[in-house]
């Protein structure tokens, strides 16, 4: 059972586990009614994101015998420190039914960890690409302003932005943003 509010990440984990041959999977996006689902499905392993604020609720469920029939412990083995550290680093936590063989559970946990890490990398790259795109737009607008107001060529306008950025030890996109703001303030008032 995978509990993850992040739909995209949940599907990444799901795909990974299915590829590895684990096909009795349940993915839950929210924790409403989770006690009933656990009681019905009796999962061997429950994987949950550390971002999920409901971990405390879930752990409490595991302690109440009437909610779950089988005792659930955390992680594969408390002594397996490297696994625990890797999981926490990756931002994932797993609860495992007591008595389940370590050889059976470890690959599942390892898969969850590697998928979480892959997802974080993807999210980071996406964020970087987005920022990159934003900066490029800002720089284009700033170049346009310089070309129009000072009659510069595109190349000279860019060189001026870059030189200013280097002199002030700031990013070109920051200089572009300042220029756009300043141009907005200095622009002649629009006819009303």
């Amino acid at each position: 059972m995978v509990i993850d509010e992040n739909r995209l990440r949940a599907s990444v984990i799901e795909a990974g586990l299915r590829d590895a041959g684990y096909d009795k999977l349940t993915i839950l996006q929210d924790v409403t009614g989770v006690a009933r689902r656990i009681a019905e499905l009796e999962p061997d392993v429950i994987v949950i994101s550390l971002e999920n604020p409901n971990r405390d609720m879930l752990e409490n469920l595991f302690q109440l015998s009437r909610a779950v029939k089988r005792p659930i412990a955390m992680f594969v083995d408390r002594a397996d420190r490297a696994s625990i550290e890797a999981a926490v680093e990756a931002g994932v936590s797993a609860y495992v039914v007591d008595g389940l063989k370590q050889e059976r559970v470890k690959p599942i946990l390892d898969m969850a960890i590697s998928r979480f890490n892959a997802f974080s990398r993807m999210a980071r790259e996406l964020e970087e690409a987005r920022t990159e795109l934003e900066s490029r737009k800002l720089i284009d607008r700033a170049k346009g302003i310089l070309m129009k107001t000072r009659g510069l060529s595109e190349e000279t306008a860019y060189a001026l932005l870059r030189k200013t950025a280097m002199n002030q030890n700031r990013k070109i996109s920051e200089i572009a943003q300042s220029l756009i703001t300043a141009a907005g303030l200095l622009a002649p008032p629009e006819d009303e």
Binding site: L50, E51, N52, P53, N54, R55, D56, M57, E59, N60, F62, Q63, A73, M74, F75, R78, R81, I84, E85, V88, E89, S93, Y95
Partner: protein, 406 residues
């Protein structure tokens, strides 16, 4: 700054993270040579896990949690020590508007008095049982929390069996108001500003407060990874000095607005500064435009509010036993007692000349008025510290207390 003076602390978005937040933001930590990083977490389980794997050296935790960890009651348990408390009080019990109307019909008043509120709740609970309606559902933030124990203590003292007559579930504090509005729960016990949140949003009424159930009672503590605390005693002592100065700053009425502003920031609670003011000023808005003044609602520094009393640890232990979370025996009692470390507190803060109790434990509930007590350094007054039902907890007579509550 030396690497061993870099300290990362986990915090939860609660008003009583104030001592850590102000220690960082007002420069008390850097003034002691500590490079303090605060990481906001989404669950107590995350804080516990990150302490266990060494991501955090210290954390803002529920006062019973380190005891539960050391008793091996939690899934991932690393040895932790409690060298300092992070203030006293700060919680309240909030109920839905529907339950509030029902309680008013049964004699509840907007004065936050736990006796009248409890009597009204008892009538409502009995009425529901007679009609065959399901039990009321209350939420607390964690099974090993002051909230869970004070809610149960109050209910039991009012003749309501917390196990049989009502249902108690776990909900994270920032989600309490939503759960109340959605009707998932009928009431909850949580720290501020998450009671005020329901009042401001118009979804609930504050029924009573921790300070009225047990005045001057423990709530959050500083939990430290025991391995780190043993390896870096100087860094820990410097952090405790910074937190002590921060506690004094937080306690000054002149700093309330600034503190509320700091806490409302994006790295911390991300909620309006006005939400922080009731807890800091003691002017509690209970709902329906009513305001009630609560003495000692949240105490950051006065009355030895940061001292890690062994009697507090033992009271939490007595409640773990009472509600079947742990068996009572000498070994478990010793674990609870040794988790709280007034010796570390004394070693770090004694030289500062602050008011320092002479004893490591006290009889809880014995003081009915503010009373000067034996102290080293500045003079010290404690109390009142009474339980609302007049009971007394004498840590030297733990067995009696446990037997009496069976």
């Amino acid at each position: 700054m030396a690497a061993d003076r870099q300290i990362t602390a986990g915090i939860m978005p609660l008003l009583d993270s104030a001592l850590l937040v102000a220690a960082k933001e007002k420069g008390f930590a850097s003034g002691e040579g500590i490079d303090l990083a605060l990481v906001r977490e989404t669950s107590w389980a995350n804080i516990r896990d990150r302490l266990a794997v060494g991501h955090f050296q210290v954390a803002h935790v529920l006062a019973p949690m380190p005891i539960a960890c050391n008793l091996g009651l939690t899934p991932l348990a690393a040895r932790t020590v409690v060298p300092m408390a992070l203030g006293l009080g700060g919680n309240a019990v909030t109920v839905s508007n529907v339950l509030w109307e029902d309680l008013v019909g049964n004699g509840a008043k907007a004065d936050l008095d736990p006796r009248t509120a409890g009597a009204a709740l008892k009538s409502v609970v009995t009425g529901r049982a007679t009609r065959g309606d399901g039990p009321l559902r209350f939420a607390v933030v964690h099974p090993y929390s002051g909230h869970n124990y004070e809610l149960r203590y109050w209910l039991a003292a009012c003749g309501i069996d917390p196990t049989r007559d009502v249902e108690i579930v776990i909900v994270p504090p920032p989600l309490m108001a939503d759960a109340l509005a959605a009707g998932t729960i009928d009431g909850y016990c949580a720290g501020e500003p998450w009671n005020t949140a329901s009042v401001v949003l118009g979804v609930g009424h504050i029924l009573t407060v921790k300070a009225a159930i047990w005045r001057s009672s423990p709530e959050k503590v500083l939990s430290a990874d025991a391995r780190w605390a043993e390896a870096q005693p100087e860094a820990l002592a410097a952090l405790l000095r910074a937190l002590c100065k921060s506690a004094q700053w937080c306690a000054a009425p002149a700093n309330r607005e600034e503190l509320a502003g700091l806490l409302s920031g994006p790295a911390y609670l991300q909620k309006p500064a006005a939400w922080m003011m009731p807890a800091l000023s003691g002017q509690i808005e209970t709902g329906g435009a009513q305001t009630t003044r609560v003495e000692d609602f949240f105490i950051p520094f006065a009355k030895a509010a940061t001292f890690p009393w062994k009697s507090h640890a033992l009271w939490f232990y007595s409640q773990m036993v009472r509600w079947g979370q742990v068996a009572h025996n000498a070994a478990n009692e010793a674990v609870a007692r040794e988790t709280y470390r007034p010796d570390l507190y004394r070693a770090a803060l004694g030289p500062m000349g602050i008011a320092m109790p002479v004893a490591n434990a006290k009889v809880e509930g014995a003081l009915t008025a503010e009373t000067p007590v034996g102290s080293a350094g500045a003079s010290l007054s404690l109390g009142p510290d009474g339980f609302f039902d007049g009971e007394i907890f004498d840590p030297d007579r733990l067995d009696d207390y446990i037997a009496r509550q069976r």
